[in-house]
Amino acid sequence: MDKNSHLETVIRTHQITKEKELLNKHIQKKNEVKNALEDEYGSNVYAPFNSGSYEKNTAINTKFDFDLVSPFRRNAFGSGGTLKEMYEAVYDFLFHKYKNVAEVRKQKVSIGLEFYTDSDGDKIKIDVVPGRELNQDQYKDDENLNLFVYYKYGNIDAGSERIKTNVQSQINNIKERANKEKDSIRKIIRLLKVWKNTKGNYPTKSFFLELITIKAFDKGNITGNLWDKLKAVLEYIRDNITNSDFTLKDPGNSSNDLADTLTDSEKDQLANDMKNMLDRIKENDENLKTYFPENPKFKEEDKNRYKTNGSIPMPPPKLNFG
């Protein structure tokens, strides 16, 4: 089996352009929510914007990651208002607005809107991230926001108000690297997202995978073909993530350490998953397909032609029909 051509196929079948309609649905929904927030909060909110992977050019078509950041003014919830009050108020607003058409959930730093399956069988998911400028009117100048941590987030306690970041520079940083290093960083990030998706609800955030990929490229001499590069990044994660002095700087605020978003046991799990994956692929190339599957919806086949794979076709021994 040719590992490189398989990985290339995986990336191709996960191209976001293959799901134009679904992407448009997401964009449309995102705009709807954005308008709703602006209508509700008027001049108390700066323009909400998408910070998801679509914005960063690192998206895959099986999970769109639409994160709508809503930058509120310092006094939007009263001059003495807390971040918790901001979070709760936005949740209440979204809950009442969407409770009949979506599952509205409190998440780590965001509020999740999972719209009920539409007539095409599609599910749209938008996360709203409420943030607040540091001082009145300061956002225009520095784009810095304070976020509220609702659930324990790695080593960051629930109720913590210490996440201060600049989402815009987070986006720009990753977008720039992903665009500049299309064949390395962008491809590896997409592959890691495909892998993460096979795990269901994995504690490591996409943002974390994006940053650690970039760090791996910055630290090591990563060259060779696509598999070589992917392997090097997996090895980098395996060998470094559990080191006590390992840090992952937030491009939006250099004093934030993204390594804190995972608990020690979550880091162990991540390192262990990398180790298992590398070992299994080393034992048998075919196992690569388990970790990095093609999107079955877009498996590549010759257009409008019947196809057999070589030898005499034989019916499988046992088949059930209903």
Binding site: N276, E286, K289
Partner: protein, 556 residues
């Protein structure tokens, strides 16, 4: 005097702190003598009559063949009714060594229980002499109930005979306690057991909650009714009298009396006294123009055997991690693998386990699954429910009959395109904490991946000759299993299959031992992941039998 006796006398005299008070002589069977044993802290040595059986230094069954008696020590702990102290010592086939070990144990007993008056942290039950009652032994099993009895509360109970057995050389009848009623037959509390036990035929008994232990020194249960006299209120004796009169008409020849008492603040223990109908140890006496019910104090109390079979004792010696035992579990496919999984879970403390399978158990299935020949041809689901009910009194099955399996299959395979039914199925499956799919049905595997299920879903399958065992535990289960089995990753014999006579569908070849080894290995791994609170990953267990058997678990 024979050599053995001389040797023992010489040896005893040579052991420090031991004095030979009366030299050993050969009795009819035993060698008997009297010694004194001194340990620091005593003013003078304690005396013991010693008897040594012919088997010494070997044990007989599970008991030591040397006994140290002193009836003055009866009030201390770890003393048998005949005044012999309980010692458990090291093994030695050499008489001299063994004798030294045994004397050391006597010294240890003196230090621990005579001088320091230690009480062990675990509770020791009253010692009840087990005698046959009218030619039969009786055992009664009880379970904790959520009811707090008050002192001297009495009433009726229902119990059910389980089965008859042989107890050493006698017959024994085992029974379970079913319900507590007050004296007007109003239910106080139902005793929880599995559904089949609850349906057993019921008989009557009575109970009284004494609160205090029916014993003088917390060690031996009373032997005579006279000792119980002060414990039993007149009101209760009158109740007994009425019960006896009414029971005369019934078929039963005896009536069990359950005596309850606290062994800790929170825990009640029950002992049972067997009463012969028509011959209760009570009589009427006119005192000051009034009839009183009196106890015939000279009569011996006929104690039966009782056992606390509540969950914590029943599974006390070992069970799976709580996260599993507390889970509501569904097993789809109960062939070789599924039935072994079911039995392992139920034996290891899981109580809520449902089954789905629409296959029929045939005699030829018995050799490598958990079914019995005795039950003949039967739906696998119904048969396994029976098997599980025989094992665990706590097994609860909510769904699992054949109809349920049929309905499940029909809905899953024909109606999944209907969004409403799909979400109903999802809702139903999400009620389970853990789902084991042991069906090796690729259709089902595919369909399950189409559902939005939050339960822990584990797919088990095995290759021919039980060469490999595959467990899919993650979202990508379909790709994983397909790659392993059809993608040429796993190497196993695909030709040497077993073709049952008269059936066109070949099956894999492997014995109960082959399969069970791997299933247990897998379950142990899964249990360990639960204990350590770690995420479950897909895994493959590979065996290599080129030389010694090696089993290797690879996590993905």
């Amino acid at each position: 005097m024979n050599d053995r006796v001389t040797k023992i006398n010489t040896l005893i005299e040579s052991i420090p702190d031991v004095k030979l008070l009366k030299p050993f002589v050969q009795g009819k069977f035993d060698i008997e003598g009297c010694i004194s044993v001194f340990v620091e802290g005593l003013e003078e040595g304690l005396n013991f009559d010693v008897s040594i059986d012919p088997q010494y230094p070997f044990k007989s069954h599970d008991t030591e063949t040397i006994k140290f008696y002193n009836e003055d020590l009866l009030a201390y702990r770890h003393i048998m009714g005949n005044g012999s102290i309980c010692i458990h010592t090291a093994h030695s086939p050499v008489l001299s060594d063994k004798l030294c070990f045994d004397i050391e144990s006597v010294k240890a007993w003196i230090r621990k229980y005579y001088i320091n008056k230690d009480s062990d942290t675990h509770y020791e039950h009253l010692i009840v002499t087990n005698k046959a009652f009218k030619g039969n032994h009786f055992a009664f099993f009880f379970n904790e109930v959520e009811y707090s009895f008050s002192k001297n509360q009495f009433g009726f109970v229902d119990y059910s005979p389980l089965s008859n057995g042989i107890f050493y050389k006698d017959k024994i009848r085992s029974n379970i306690l079913q319900v507590f009623y007050d004296r007007n037959r109003k239910t106080l509390s139902d005793v929880k057991w599995n559904i089949q036990l609850k349906f057993l035929h019921r008989s009557n008994g009575v109970f009284i909650f004494l609160k205090d232990t029916p014993s003088n020194n917390q060690r031996w249960a009373f032997e005579k009714w006279s000792e119980l006299e002060t414990f039993l209120p007149q009101e209760f004796l009158e109740f007994l009298h009425l019960v006896e009169e009414k029971s005369q008409k019934g078929k039963e020849k005896f009536l069990p009396l359950f005596i309850g008492y606290n062994i800790t603040e929170a825990e009640i223990h029950w002992q049972v006294i067997m009463l012969e109908i028509g011959n209760f140890p009570i009589y009427g006496e006119k005192v000051n123009k009034q009839w009183l019910t009196m106890i015939d104090g000279n009569r011996t109390i006929d104690w039966a055997i009782t056992r606390n079979c509540s969950y914590k004792y029943f599974f006390g010696r070992g069970r799976l991690n709580e996260q599993l035992t507390n889970s509501k579990i569904l097993i789809i496919g109960i062939g070789a693998i599924g039935s072994i999984v079911a039995k392992t879970l139920v034996r290891s403390g899981c109580t809520k386990v449902d089954f789905i399978d629409y296959d029929i158990k045939e005699p030829e299935n018995v050799c490598r699954s958990e079914y019995s020949f005795y039950t003949g041809i039967s739906n696998k689901t119904n048969d396994l429910i029976n098997e599980m009910c025989l094992i665990s009194p706590f097994f609860e099955v909510a769904y699992g009959g054949f109809d349920y399996s049929e309905a499940f299959n029909f809905f899953l395979k024909t109606h999944l395109t209907d969004m409403n039914i799909k979400s109903e199925i999802e809702k139903h499956l999400n009620e389970y904490d853990v789902i084991f799919d042991c069906s090796a049905d690729s259709d089902l595997l595919y369909l399950l991946t189409q559902l939005n299920i939050n339960s822990t879903l584990l797919n088990f399958s095995i290759s021919n000759h039980a060469k490999q065992f595959v467990c899919a535990a993650e979202q990508n289960r379909y790709e994983f299993i397909t790659t392993q089995f059809n993608g040429g990753v796993l190497k196993f014999d695909t030709d040497d299959l077993y073709n049952p006579t008269g059936c066109w569908n070949p099956t894999f070849k492997a014995s109960y031992n082959d399969i069970n080894t791997l299933v247990q290995y897998a379950l142990k791994h899964i249990n360990l992941r639960f204990i350590n609170d770690k995420a479950l990953r897909n895994f493959v267990i590979e065996t290599d039998d080129t030389d010694c058997l090696t089993i290797n678990l690879k996590e993905f």
